[in-house]
Symmetry: C2
Subunit: 251 residues, 2 copies
């Protein structure tokens, strides 16, 4: 890369941070080099830089990220109006329906939670702002994919690893595209235990004042107490209500 408007040292460093993940909390220099495709010498320099700045700890062998890294993501959550505007509406919604309510946006093939009001836990994993789920099998993901032009949605599905989380997970691209068309038509998506057995959810898009879809909100409920068939009857109106209220507030 010869671009004069691109700081490759910076880009490499960000790659190094992203090398740390769920399954790889402690990484040695060589691990990072392998994960990022960087030269070992370069990976080492990036890691030492992180340590020097206090974003990572180094015990002479392994590097571990420190909580200071959270400043970076926090810069987004506190700097972006959307999470702040949506949060109180989610709180009220969650309290009214006695279920968890969340808001998310699309980042590549995943949905990213940007706000959440949780009632008692139903999911096995703990969702919070910054959490990610594959878009194709999450209710908000379906809504957000449906809001894209068909080819873009298709392209994203193509680059997604379509695996079955439960026996009910839809993984056939053609059937997913058909479902997206239905979602686009009807204005909401219901997921019946496709991500986790025992969990249903329903989502609607959040439009801004110009009618562009900027996010999605959903309600999740235990399948045992709220069968999928009832999700829309119970929760569609409350969700649509919030979406209507927010429409004029978002840009």
């Amino acid at each position: 890369m010869q671009e004069t408007d691109f700081v490759s040292g910076f880009a490499r460093g960000l790659k190094v941070i992203e090398a740390f993940g769920e399954t790889t909390p402690r990484l040695a220099i060589a691990d990072v080099a392998k994960a990022t495709g960087l030269d070992r010498a370069t990976a080492r320099r990036c890691l030492l830089t992180l340590a020097e700045l206090g974003y990572a700890d180094y015990d002479g062998k392994f590097f571990v990220l420190t909580p200071k890294i959270l400043r970076l993501g926090h810069a987004y959550l506190s700097a972006t109006p959307l999470p702040h505007i949506v949060q109180p509406f989610l709180d009220k919604l969650a309290e009214e329906v006695h279920q968890s309510a969340s808001a998310s946006v699309l980042d590549g093939t995943e949905v990213v939670y940007i706000a959440r009001a949780s009632q008692k836990r139903v999911m096995s994993i703990n969702l919070m702002p910054g959490s990610r789920l594959p878009a194709y099998c999450a209710s908000m993901g379906r809504v957000l994919l449906a809001a894209l032009p068909e080819d873009e949605a298709r392209a994203l599905l193509k680059q997604t690893n379509l695996r079955s989380f439960t026996p009910r997970t839809l993984t056939d691209p053609a059937r997913l595209m058909a479902e997206l068309a239905r979602v686009r038509e009807e204005g909401f998506a219901v997921i019946d235990q496709e991500l986790e057995l025992g969990l249903c959810s329903i989502a609607v898009p959040l439009e801004n004042d110009r009618g562009r879809v900027v996010a999605a909100i959903n309600i999740g409920a235990p399948a045992a107490s709220v069968p999928a068939a009832e999700m829309a009857d119970r929760y569609l109106e409350p969700l649509k209500g919030v979406a209507r209220l927010l429409k004029s507030l978002l840009r």
Copy 2:
């Protein structure tokens, strides 16, 4: 900087990300240059790099961070065992006492939330993993400062902007140090509306198996329903119980 093991381009880039914050969500090149102290040309290159990589959007004038930035903080939250281990205990605790429970660690002069189980909202601001509060006037902050050697705690207080959030906020360094001594002695800290009127909280330290304090947990309650004097009676034992259970699980 002449260090051979330091990538200053990377360090500069991270500085640029941190320039975005609550009051400054949309920044022009010159703003970033001013905020970071970097040369305009450098700030511009870093920003264009962020945009190129999809971490920021650029409309030709202003830069805005995208949700992709959350991947960076998420790398910590998902890579670090502490949040995962603590979360289920907080969930159980919050349900038992019908109040919000949180866990945090120290980052400089601030506490950083790493996990949280929220019951109904009492605070005006919404706390979530990644959120920050000044250590000197938060219950978990007091506990974490008390766990440091005296000089370190004193040094941190010195570099803190000790402002009064409410008429009750302690801001005198000497009195704060005395309070830290008391906290160290008694093993818990109670905050009586020092951060926000109407909000009390109580925190205890979380030790690992070798007795080192690695985090703090707390319970927050509305002052109207639980006077500060009752906080310890009601919540100290549940908190201590969780700390005991976690001691062997943390390293």
